[in-house]
Amino acid sequence: MDNASDEAFVAFERVQKSYDGENLVVKDLNLSLPKGEFLTMLGPSGSGKTTCLMMLAGFETATHGDILLDGKSINNIPPHKRGIGMVFQNYALFPHMTVAENLSFPLEVRGMGKSEREEKVKRALDMVQMGDFGGRRPAQLSGGQQQRIALSRALVFEPELVLMDEPLGALDKQLRETLQFEITNLAHELGITTVYVTHDQTEALTMSDRVAVFDDGRIQQLAPPDKLYEEPENSFVAQFIGENNTLEGVIKEINNDVALVELDGGAVIDAKPINVTTVGERTRVSIRPERVEYNKDRLSADAHTLKAEVLEFIYMGDIFRTRLRVAGKDDFVIKTRNAPDQTRLKPGEQIEIGWLPQDCRALDA
């Protein structure tokens, strides 16, 4: 976890938050992001991500610690003076105003002249391809259109930082994907810094420069999407991001970045030790389904293999998904690409599976 650096545009320094004086919702949060970054706070509900966003926006105050914006503490600055754009979960478009009035509102409260306002509103609407909808009421728009308006309203006064609180949660999958793309494009085009909150990991992975995975009031891992997926630093992140197979066991020995793990069933495998250090420690071994290999030719000779029984074979078009019983557990899944030479396993078949040691990560239990 990085400490706030001097160049950081937004920084949380040892921030804590408690609502009831007994439990901390946010525990000792340190986070900083440079200008122009698209950062996503990802986590299950109750993990503290929304609270962090609200503290940044100014609707909640930190119980302890500092929040810095452009190097200055904003703890005592009221929300309307922070100049942060925000997109809400349910859009929060003002129902009694037209779309144009909604967009004009932030400019109006800033005392901008009428003609300038109109021009900016027009530009902001064009930016989201909603130029013809200025005279409509929000209720007359579809969900996607409302989302676009909410976005352009948050951007119309040209904030340097925009916060988004699960802005796509209420939309259907296809629309969501389109908008994900549009949002990231806009953010990068305009060079604005974005803090995005979601509980949808795909969204987080596809949109972000970096993702902060929240759990239990702490950031579990802060990393770019690929690193997060491929190199989870603890078992929570491994479980939370993407599909994952877990085997439990005890560390037998560690040398040269390879740990020998004896699984609870008695089998022994190789793994890369991530946050295990001592022999005899219990561990959870994590392997991504697509990194599991059952074609012996592709495994190195000295690789440890495990016996497995095929339970279920699911044809999914681009991939095959096969469920196996491995080391006494029957929720072990492997994914294989649908290629011409690919074997289609049949239920009941006995096979041996293996993987590269670096793909198999020994994490905390």
């Binding site: 609707f59 929300p79 925000m86 809400f88 003002f94 009694h96 932030p106 409260v109 916060l163």
Partner: protein
């Protein structure tokens, strides 16, 4: 339409359903059935609403113009008055007084004259006792004729002779055979055809008399003696040249003798007789009032309720010292507005607080808001009396604090202030509840969004939150305004003289003066004003801008 059983006829005729009827008619049939079922489901409610809501309002509107009592009670007089020039300074003719005698005589027998007196007393002071007095004396007025007929021949004293003379022979036989101890019905009087043409007036009066005896008093007609009224009618018939010479029925001899003597009878000038009873019968006012109010329907009540009166020369404003209703209407509207306004001022923050507190606390506080509903209105209003009077809690506290001097205690009750305070308190829940339920549905994210867009707390409230709570204000205001317009108990108790409403006068006319027509007219005007305001509200604010919740 690929089904083989349903021919595709879309091009050459109406679409047919499976049974060959047109699709439209079978759809209609299905719809009608479901409509009928729906109607039956709401029927109890519909009947209830009709009986308890529509019918009373219709009844009220009808009462505000209905005036049949005058022509029902004095049918002959009002008819005679039709030709009278009320604008002149001559009293009606003597014959009108004779009709009046008959009307009042009959009304007195049916005990209706005092009711008419009360009715007309609303229009002209003194008519009540005039009719009561006249009712007492009217039996004596025509007695002169009765005495003379009876003096002429003892025949005229006997009821059975009269029955024989006036009645049809068959009826007479049946009547005389009837046993009044038995359970059988009394044979209804049938006038003799011959006598009816010979003595039309007498026959008419006798028929009325017979009907009254048989059906209202339920006495045996054979044992009753006729009214004095009939003798005067007989005298009139005989002196106006009835051809009794040709008459040969029962009592022919006595009738012919009477006809011969009648010309020399002492007569009664009914005008003088009435003026003897009360000199008011010689005043034009009484007759003009009778004439003005003889039609079956009148605008009089409505004119009265806008401080006008119906006179023979058309509507006129009342004297200044009798004008009250317009002032009360204005005051009622004005004070209801003030009460509505103060309910908004006090209720809005409460509603806001309730809507933004955690549900548990809000529910608890909501009980406090609703608490007044559980105490009797009278108790609450009386409590305000103890609070607000000059020796009351509020004044005592202010004096103790030194805010006001002991000898200049504030007048907080028995005036408009008292009414406004007490009514605001009573009606406040009606403002808070719709406000609360509307505010409850405004997500906090709107205000947050406004603030994030750079609005100060005040701007966020005023530009974003407030407009969305307006439907709640609208609903609450309509409730409070309409309720306060109709209130009368509280203004009566705490309003003194300057804080009473039009409803207090309506209540007075309903329960004390019994002038239900005027009360109905005042109520109808109030209803019209409310509907008018509602219409204006719809035009200005839009009625869909009213929400009681969600």
């Amino acid at each position: 339409m690929t089904s083989s059983t349903a021919p595709d006829t879309a091009n050459d005729g109406p679409m047919l359903a499976a049974d060959g009827r047109t699709l439209k008619s079978s759809l209609n049939r299905a719809l009608r059935r479901s409509k009928l079922r729906a109607l039956m489901l709401i029927a109890p409610l519909l009947i209830f609403v009709l009986l308890t809501f529509i019918a009373p309002i219709a009844d009220m509107l009808f009462r505000s113009v209905e005036n049949q009592i005058v022509s029902d009670t004095l049918p002959r007089t009002t008819q005679a008055l039709a030709d009278w020039d009320a604008g002149g300074d001559a009293l009606p003719e003597d014959s009108t007084y004779r009709e009046l005698y008959r009307d009042i005589f009959l009304a007195k027998e049916r005990k209706l004259h005092t009711r008419l007196g009360s009715r007309l007393n609303y229009e002209l002071t003194g008519v009540s006792s005039l009719f009561r007095k006249s009712g007492r004396k009217v039996e004596d007025m025509g007695e002169v004729y009765q005495d003379q007929f009876e003096d002429l021949d003892g025949f005229w004293k006997q009821g059975e002779n009269w029955n024989a003379l006036m009645g049809d022979a068959d009826w007479l036989a049946a009547q005389n055979a009837w046993d009044d101890k038995s359970d059988t019905a009394q044979p209804q009087f049938v006038a003799s055809g011959a006598v009816s043409t010979l003595l039309p007036l007498t026959a008419e009066m006798f028929t009325l008399y017979a009907d009254f005896v048989q059906n209202e008093d339920e006495d045996n007609l054979a044992k009753e003696d006729p009214w004095a009224l009939i003798y005067s009618a007989l005298h009139q018939d005989l002196t106006s040249g009835a051809g009794v010479a040709s008459y040969a029925g029962p009592g022919a001899a006595e009738l012919q003798a009477a006809a011969a003597a009648a010309g020399d009878f002492e007569t009664v000038v009914f005008r003088e007789a009435f003026e003897d009873v009360d000199e008011d019968w010689g005043s034009l006012d009484v007759w003009q009032t009778l004439k003005v109010y003889s039609p079956n329907f009148t605008s009089g009540y409505f004119l009265n309720s806008i401080d006008m009166q119906k006179t023979i020369d058309g509507p006129e404003m009342r004297d200044d010292n009798e004008q009250i209703y317009l002032k009360l209407f204005m005051r009622t509207l004005f004070m209801s507005l003030v009460i509505t306004g103060s309910c908004i001022l006090l209720g809005y923050p409460v509603g806001y607080m309730l809507a933004n507190l955690p549900a548990k606390t809000a529910n608890l506080l909501m009980i406090l808001v609703l608490l007044p509903f559980w105490t009797s209105l009278l108790v609450r209003t009386s409590a305000w009396k103890v609070m607000l009077q000059q020796q009351g809690v509020v004044n005592d506290t202010l004096v103790w604090l030194g805010v006001v001097a002991d000898d200049s205690r504030l007048a907080l009750i028995n005036n408009q202030t008292g009414t406004i305070i007490a009514m605001t308190h009573i009606l406040l829940p009606f403002m808070i509840l719709p406000l609360y339920s509307v505010m409850k549905t405004i997500p906090p994210s709107y205000t947050r969004a406004a603030k994030s867009l750079g609005a100060t707390n005040w701007t966020a409230f005023w530009r974003v939150y407030f407009p969305q709570s307006v439907p709640g204000i609208g609903a609450g205001s309509i409730l409070v305004f309409i309720l306060s317009i109709g209130y009368y108990i509280t203004p009566e108790i705490v309003g003194g003289t300057t804080g009473t409403f039009i409803s207090n006068r309506i209540a007075y006319h309903i329960s004390s003066s019994l002038n239900w027509g005027l009360a109905a007219a005042l109520g109808a005007i109030l209803l019209a004003v409310v509907l008018g305001l509602y219409w204006a509200y719809d035009r200005i604010v839009g009625i869909d801008n009213v929400k009681l919740g969600g």
